[in-house]
């Protein structure tokens, strides 16, 4: 039986998209020295408000914008706690993640109760096919045999995500803002000594991450699934942190890592579809995560040792 069909590769991309968006958030964050472990929670919150707004406005586009806005605001709030009030950013992130789980189910009940006179525990009945983020068939490419079936027909957010990889590179390496982000991340004293506002750069850094995670959340509730449901992000915000680390913190490397995780999840789904006990299949993505991280860590260590050896010669 062949599991490596075009469908399978298509699903890798589909599954990897939200991970990729969150990974880019992690990449920008780490470059700016902001370890945002709250991506998971931001995705949850954006997923909820994206789907609700799409339903209210009957527009997936406005839903998407609101999801980004919610992501941005939540990230800036994190920044306020972490940079202004000097709370440990890991604790702030943990709080955001808890709100992303418990807070969203609370909110969805309260909001639906107030607006629809019935307390709902998910928004799955609210997002119809018409409110789904549209998918597009790319002319010409869709007609290429095999490849066309894999890379055409995805949601516009998927294409945006891959475009964002390139945009992230441009942002980080070609713009003054990117230079500031990287210098604040590496040596804030050096940055501030030449008049760069460290606080401002950090807010921008975490804000960009919020918007990207917001996009990931919108993808989850308005494309990947039809509507929001409890804990639907299911660890993708954390997997993104692993992907960032595995990719060496660079956009392209991290994108490849996100695809590896997409592959692992797709494999899990595929294998369970063949009738293998789902309990045996469930760990596949996590095992792939652990193995990848170990490989990454070993490589990193080799590199460090080489560098040490080189510097010892001088």
């Amino acid at each position: 039986m062949n599991i490596f069909t075009t469908d399978f590769f298509f699903s890798i991309i589909r599954i990897a998209t939200p991970i990729l968006l969150a990974t880019l958030a992690a990449v920008v964050g780490e470059k700016g020295g902001v370890s945002n472990i709250g991506l998971e929670g931001i995705m949850m919150m954006s997923a909820l408000f994206g789907s609700l707004t799409a339903y209210w406005t009957k527009s997936w586009f406005i839903g998407l914008l609101i999801a980004m806005l919610v992501g941005l605001l939540e990230a800036l709030l994190m920044g306020f706690f972490a940079f202004k009030l000097k709370t440990d950013i890991i604790l702030v992130g943990t709080a955001v993640n808890m709100i992303g789980s418990g807070g969203t189910i609370f909110l969805v009940k309260v909001i639906t109760n107030a607006t629809m006179d019935q307390s709902m525990t998910s928004t799955t009945s609210l997002i119809t096919k018409a409110l789904q983020i549209p998918s597009v068939n790319i002319p010409l490419i869709k007609d290429i045999p095999v490849l066309g079936k894999i890379i055409s027909g995805h949601s516009i957010l998927t294409y945006l995500a891959f475009l964002l990889v390139w945009l992230t590179i441009v942002l980080l390496y070609k713009t003054p803002l990117g230079l500031n982000i990287r210098s604040v991340g590496e040596n804030p004293n050096a940055a501030s000594s030449v008049g760069v506002s460290v606080a401002k750069v950090r807010y921008i850094t975490i804000g960009i991450g919020g918007i990207l995670a917001g996009l990931g959340g919108a993808y989850m509730s308005m494309y990947y699934a039809m509507g929001w449901s409890l804990d639907m992000v299911a660890g993708r915000g954390f997997i993104a942190l692993a992907a960032q680390s595995m990719g060496g913190g660079e956009p392209v490397g991290s994108m490849l890592a996100a695809l590896v995780f997409g592959f692992a999840q797709a494999l899990g789904i595929k294998v369970s579809a063949t009738g293998v006990d789902s309990n045996l299949v469930a760990p596949i993505p996590y095992i792939v995560t652990i193995i990848s991280l170990v490989i990454f860590a070993i490589n990193q260590r080799r590199k460090d040792q080489k560098r040490h050896a080189a510097s010892a010669l001088n």
């Binding site: 713009t175 230079l179 210098s183 050096a190 030449v194 760069v196």
Partner: protein
Amino acid sequence: MSGEYAIQMKGITKVYPNGTVANQNVNLDVKKGEIHALMGENGAGKSTLMKMLFGLEQPTEGQILVNGEQVHLSSPTVAISKGIGMVHQHFMLVPSLTVAENMVLGMVPTKSGALIDFKKAVEITEEYSKKFNLEVDANAKVMDIPVGMKQKVEILKALVRGAKILILDEPTAVLTSQETTELFKELKNLKTQGYTLIFISHKLNEIMEITDRMTILRGGRSMGIYETKDVTPQEISRLMVGRDVVLKVEKDKAQPGAEVLKVRDVEYVNEWGKKMLDKVSLSVRRGEILGIAGVEGNGQKELVDMLFGFNRPNRGTIEVNGSNIIGLGQREIREKHISLVPEDRMLYGIAGTASIEENLISDRAGSKKLNNGILFNMGAIHKESEQLVKDYTVLCKNAQQAVGSLSGGNIQKVVVAREFSNDPVLIIADQPTRGIDVGATEFIRKKLVELSRSGIAVLLVSADLNEVMELSDSLIIMCGGRIAAYFEDTEDLSDELMGEYMLGIRQQSPEEIRRVCHE
């Protein structure tokens, strides 16, 4: 006459919120186009004075004039706008960025509105590099270039921001001698181009070589402004090094016994390839205090690190009572009954948020006396710590108080109470009384003498001349990672002579120095 001076600092006094007086009524005049040295030992107030000139700190009293115009330097940005640039001792560079990127950080040239104009950045870098004859590789990443080049980048960074007055904070501290020679050539070149340089240092030969005039600071006060050509190194050393108040400590003549600490030919090259310890040999015997004097940064810290297992020498041997201690961990070293009063008490001496009691027993928490293998015997702990608090007159509410809430002197008493009470054979006391009140200082000094007379070997490292001269039975002076002198007796040593050895004007013969090994 406003045209003559680039910088005038008048009657500058700086009192920190905790009451430390860093500068007292200091005047500094720097003429346009000169290289002006700011000299003084560590803690003399050089850095504070320069921080005020660069807007990092504000003076409590006094005024600052730049080119004859009174200014209020509220931040480095203001100082930069007045044409003042600073080359910090710890480089303010971003390692993963290129030299050119570091150069333009905060003032990035752009093209088509949004993107960095890298070509322009490289051009700017190369233009300045050529103009000032400071050779740098604009496209190399900062982490890949040698220290000397990093420093040039720092200088160029200040120049590209329009600095006409450059403050160089101990620029040679991290450089090899070739790099230093090169730097001096470049600095002289800057001077001929009309730039004004303030050169902070405590290295005499460097000062004599490149400066026109100098201001000497001692204990936060100015000892005057001198023309370099008019003063001798001896005079400078006398002005820089000297004792103000002498705190007498009574002590009998030492009766040295068997050798406890034996250090032979220890060499250490630091991670940047600079030799920090060069063939250091010494012995400390039972019942004597061997002092190590010297300006800070001449290898004392590295030596102490070796003795307490924080680092390993590249060469040489270190033995305590005949057994090697190189490569041992701190616990193993403590098991050999070696005690350390660390230089940085807040970092290595105590855990600030833990109680006095917990700090006191931290080196002996595993002893059978204080626990039964699972739980602490709180009664025994209370008893022991209360006794120590009493013996060492630690001023506190009770032994359960957080140690960080005590005054500096009482914190240090907690440290010495622990270090002195665990039956030591060797005590390494590194700056044991730095920054603490007179009462605690006297107490600790007396205790050190008392312990040495009871047969313990004491190695005392101190930048405080007063302290080493008063406490030591014999002493060595370190300069440039080497032992510059050994004195068997401190009785008739003069401050002037000490100063000359400390600053490298004099140097004893290897045979004279070898006497410290008592072979």
